[in-house]
């Protein structure tokens, strides 16, 4: 377009003018002004619009980029029926609520019980197998800490499922890079057959040890990508949670509480560790 080429020429000329003539300012500025006025107004509008678009894009980019990198979420994950939603309710309001299987996430701001009074966002993710990975993908970037809830009463039967979920969690690239604090909450301690946190830790370490071998031998997926090829812990040695880059803590809690529905939950341990974040 002629206007563009003349515009380009004009821009070059204007620059050249500005560069060369610092001393004899006024006449050149006069000529510049005249040339700008001579130009087609449409071209000027085009230039202004382009500049505005560039500025707006920069603002948007900054806004979007910065919002992603802030990590203020505490995720409640675990198998189905481990008590995540009830724990969520207890932590936020202290009340007992009947719960059903969650099919979406719930989030709410949580005020930690420490001197600083920091607030996190507590997010309760659904535990069902078909939804787990989607929600984890969505929220793993924002995770500051992960509370992994385990049903201590039926742990023996579910050991392999718990370990598999934990393995997937630990070998995820984003999580292993950010290394959020991991708290394994052994829930349902009010039931008499509940296993202790120490026992659960030992069993999980044993199981993850085996899983390291079987999962790395698993088939690659059909488009050639091999998921989660991170090797947990140290090669040659048995797996222990202390070998992980992130801080892992095991504690016991009971969302239902020893007195049944009306009493308070025994979640002081959990609240304390959340306060330490």
């Amino acid at each position: 377009m002629e206007a563009d080429s003349t515009g380009a020429n004009m821009a070059e000329k204007a620059e050249a003018d500005v560069e060369m003539t610092e001393n004899p300012f006024e006449p050149y500025i006069e000529s510049l002004r005249q040339q700008v006025e001579d130009q087609d107004p449409v071209f000027l509008i085009g230039v202004i619009v382009a500049l505005a678009v560039v500025i707006i894009t920069c603002v948007f980019l900054k806004y979007f980029l910065t919002s992603k990198t802030v990590r203020t979420a505490v995720l409640l994950v675990g198998l189905c029926d481990s008590g995540k939603t009830l724990l969520f309710s207890r932590l936020l309001s202290g009340k007992f609520k009947r719960t059903q299987t969650s099919i979406t996430d719930s989030s709410a701001p949580y005020k930690a019980k420490n001197d600083r009074g920091s607030t996190w966002t507590l997010i309760d993710l659904p535990g069902h197998d078909s939804l787990r990975s989607q929600y984890l993908e969505k929220f793993k970037l924002a995770a500051r800490a992960i509370v992994f809830v385990v049903d201590s009463a039926i742990f023996q039967k579910e050991v392999r499922d718990v370990a598999e979920f934990l393995y997937v969690l630990l070998t995820d690239t984003v999580i292993s890079r950010n290394a959020p604090a991991l708290v394994v909450a052994c829930n349902k301690q009010d039931i008499t057959m509940a296993k202790s946190a120490k026992l659960i830790q030992q069993q999980l370490e044993k199981e993850l040890n085996t899983l390291r071998v079987t999962r790395s031998a698993a088939l690659s997926s059909q488009d050639g990508s091999v998921g989660g090829s991170l090797y947990l812990g140290k090669k040659g040695k048995d797996f222990e949670f202390s070998q992980l880059p992130m801080k892992v803590e095991f504690l016991e809690c009971s969302a239902r509480g020893s007195k049944g529905e009306d009493g308070n939950a025994d979640i002081e341990g959990l609240e304390n560790s959340l306060a330490k974040l």
Partner: protein, 650 residues
């Protein structure tokens, strides 16, 4: 009558619940079963579900993310339940609109929803209304129409109109009586008499024009009145007293015309009459087709039809544009207004997009019913949802469909064969895998691939050749065994061959061979037993019985259905019939059904990967292996995201 009613959020917190009198069991179990089988498996197209003795109906409220579930005994048939749920939903929303509109989950925790009284009132209304609609009592003779008629009206007369005038009072009480008494214009009752009129017209030999006119009027009348009144038991005042000879509209009045024996000689009068009657019958005048052919609009009956259609189309279009918020100012502003601001999705908005998506899925080889069920389920999930700014209907629907597809393909239980084999190893028993499927899908080939993979991971495998029907089946497996043993020689694996074949030739009973093979494996401490069965069509009842017997008797750890990725709508039929056969012919309460799917010949389809969706949707079981070729290395696991992106690619 209801066992329970719950209202809970999609995040899992129960807002309010009601338990019927005398019901002691908690409803958490059945509702969880409902969520897991229906909502999570994307079967929310039909909104009822049975679980043991209970029947559950539910409704999703997508705007506030709530689920309403009602449960009652299966044996009761309560007619008011559907409407009741809708009423409760509307009532709850109106009452708690303010609380529910707050963001975040705190609103659910902090507010207590005291819905008891409203619920009781609604329940009472619903029950009363259902009782009110009980069958109407029989009318007494006095109330019926017969008593209204005078004797005179019952005598039939020649002219059809006169018979219609009924003497006597009109009974205003009975609803069913069609107001057919108006004599003059378009009422439906005339149809019965006009039929007779036609006959009589035919008798009187009216000209063709008049016949056409009458027919046109009749048609017009029918179109105008439509389906409003059906004179179901409308009084026929001209009830014939005796049998009348039936007169056809188009028929002549004498059979003499049909007697062609004299026509050859006599051409004048008979022929003339014949010609004239032929004209009358065919409704043609000799000079009507002269000149240019009349255009199509001339046939007024067709024209009316087209006009009506046009009207309907125009009406619906105007209603569509008026329902959109920015209808006035021009297309551009309307589009922009649709983008910005909160607009809740309705069925009509989603319909065109879903239609396109359904066709797209079918083009990608998803079975037709599965595609439509999926689209219905996505529609249910999105109905009433409020869209955010800068999102179009199409993008929301696409995103929801993508999420549902990923959800379907994700396995619902842990799939780790190696770990389970290790578990069985520690229990000192072999891990038994059975392969079943129709003919020619690749059972034996994939069995060999899986045994190669297991050997690579250090397990010993026994192959049981239970295909005793197909010629060469045993030899094929023997060849595979020899190859695998040469690839992994026994010297490297502790001196014993890693693969062994257990076969008993052809023609024997497959279930018996399988049982012996498993016993042999237990004795010889093999880690895995792979049972190869013969391919069979799903309609072949005796073969399906034989397969069910094999599985029921041997109780394998894993029953894998082998299906090829090329199959289209057949997949649905195959899987349903296989599962049905396995369920029917097993003796126990918990029959062993298909536990997993092996999807073979995946390299032959480039991106028409719909068979994966059909198979997982029908059975709810995960795809454990994917076969991508014919060498031993061509065994993969399924990557749900890759498959879904290939599926949604344009």
């Amino acid at each position: 009558m209801l066992d329970f009613f719950t209202i809970f959020s999609k995040g899992g917190i129960v807002l309010w619940c009601f338990q019927g009198a005398g019901v002691t069991e908690s409803f958490t179990g059945p509702v969880n079963a409902l969520i897991r089988s229906v909502i999570l498996q994307e079967r929310s197209g039909n909104n009822s579900f049975t679980h043991e003795a209970l029947s559950l109906k539910y409704k999703l409220d997508n705007e506030f993310e709530l689920i309403f579930v009602v449960g009652f005994q299966k044996i009761l048939t309560l007619t008011y339940v559907d409407k009741f749920i809708d009423d409760v939903q509307l009532h709850f929303r109106d009452r708690y609109k303010n609380e529910l509109e707050q963001k975040g989950a705190l609103k659910l925790l902090n507010n207590s929803f005291e819905f008891e009284n409203d619920f009781k009132m609604l329940l009472r209304e619903a029950e009363d209304s259902s009782k009110a609609r009980s069958p109407a009592p029989m009318r007494s003779f006095k109330e019926s129409e017969k008593s209204q008629k005078t004797v005179k009206s019952m005598i039939e007369t020649k002219g059809g109109d006169k018979g219609k005038e009924q003497g006597g009072k009109k009974n205003k009480n009975t609803k069913k009586e069609a107001p057919a008494v108006e004599p003059a214009k378009g009422d439906q009752g005339k149809a019965s008499s006009s039929g007779q009129k036609m006959a009589e017209n035919g008798n009187q030999g009216l000209t063709a024009d008049e016949i056409m006119q009458k027919k046109r009027e009749e048609f017009f009348r029918k179109r105008m009145v439509g389906t409003t009144e059906k004179p179901s038991k409308s009084p026929k005042p001209q009830k014939p007293r005796e049998k009348q000879m039936r007169v056809w509209d188009m028929g002549g009045n004498s059979t003499k015309d049909l007697d062609y024996s004299e026509r050859n000689g006599d051409g004048s009068t008979n022929g003339g009459e014949q010609n004239q009657e032929a004209q009358i019958d065919l409704g043609m005048q000799p000079s009507s087709m002269q000149g240019d052919l009349p255009s199509v609009d001339y046939e007024s009956s067709e024209g009316e039809e087209m006009e009506d259609e046009d009207e309907e189309v125009v009406v619906s279009e105007t209603s569509k544009t008026s329902s959109k918020k920015g209808g006035g100012f021009g297309g551009m502003f309307g589009m922009l207004k649709g983008l910005v601001g909160s607009k809740s999705l309705s069925q009509e908005d989603m319909e065109p997009v879903l239609e396109k998506m359904r066709d797209h899925l079918i083009a990608k080889n998803v079975a037709a019913d599965i595609a439509s069920q999926l689209c219905d389920s996505v529609a249910k999930k999105l109905e009433g949802k409020v869209m955010g700014t800068f999102t179009t209907v199409a993008s929301t629907v696409k995103q929801a469909l993508q999420d549902s597809l990923v959800q379907i393909l994700q396995p619902k239980r842990r799939v780790d064969i190696l770990r389970d084999v290790m578990e069985a190893q520690s229990q000192r028993r072999p891990f038994v895998i059975t392969f079943c499927g129709v003919n020619g899908v690749g059972k034996s080939t994939n069995l060999a691939k899986i045994s190669y993979w297991l050997i690579e991971n250090g397990f010993t495998v026994l192959i049981a050749a239970c295909d005793t029907f197909r010629a060469g089946a045993v030899e094929q497996l023997r060849t595979h065994q020899r190859r695998l043993n040469s690839l992994h020689p026994p010297e490297k694996h502790g001196g014993r061959p890693v693969v062994q074949l257990y076969e008993k030739g052809y023609g024997k009973d497959a279930a018996g061979i399988a049982m012996e093979a498993i016993a042999y494996a237990r004795n010889q401490a093999f880690d895995v037993v792979l049972v190869d069965t013969a391919g069979r069509m799903q309609d072949n009842a005796p073969l399906m019985t034989a397969l069910a017997k094999l599985i029921a008797v041997n109780m394998p750890d894993l029953v894998l259905f082998v299906g090829e990725a090329l199959v289209g709508n057949e997949a649905v039929d195959q899987l349903v019939k296989f599962n049905q056969a396995l369920a029917d012919h097993s003796m126990s309460d918990k029959p062993r059904l298909i536990d997993g799917i092996v999807l073979t010949k995946f390299d032959t389809i480039d991106d028409k990967v719909g068979a994966a969706i059909s198979m997982t949707y029908i059975t709810g079981q995960p795809i454990v292996f994917v076969g991508t070729g014919q060498t031993y290395n061509d065994l993969r696991s399924l990557n749900a995201r890759a498959v879904v992106s290939a599926l949604m690619k344009a």
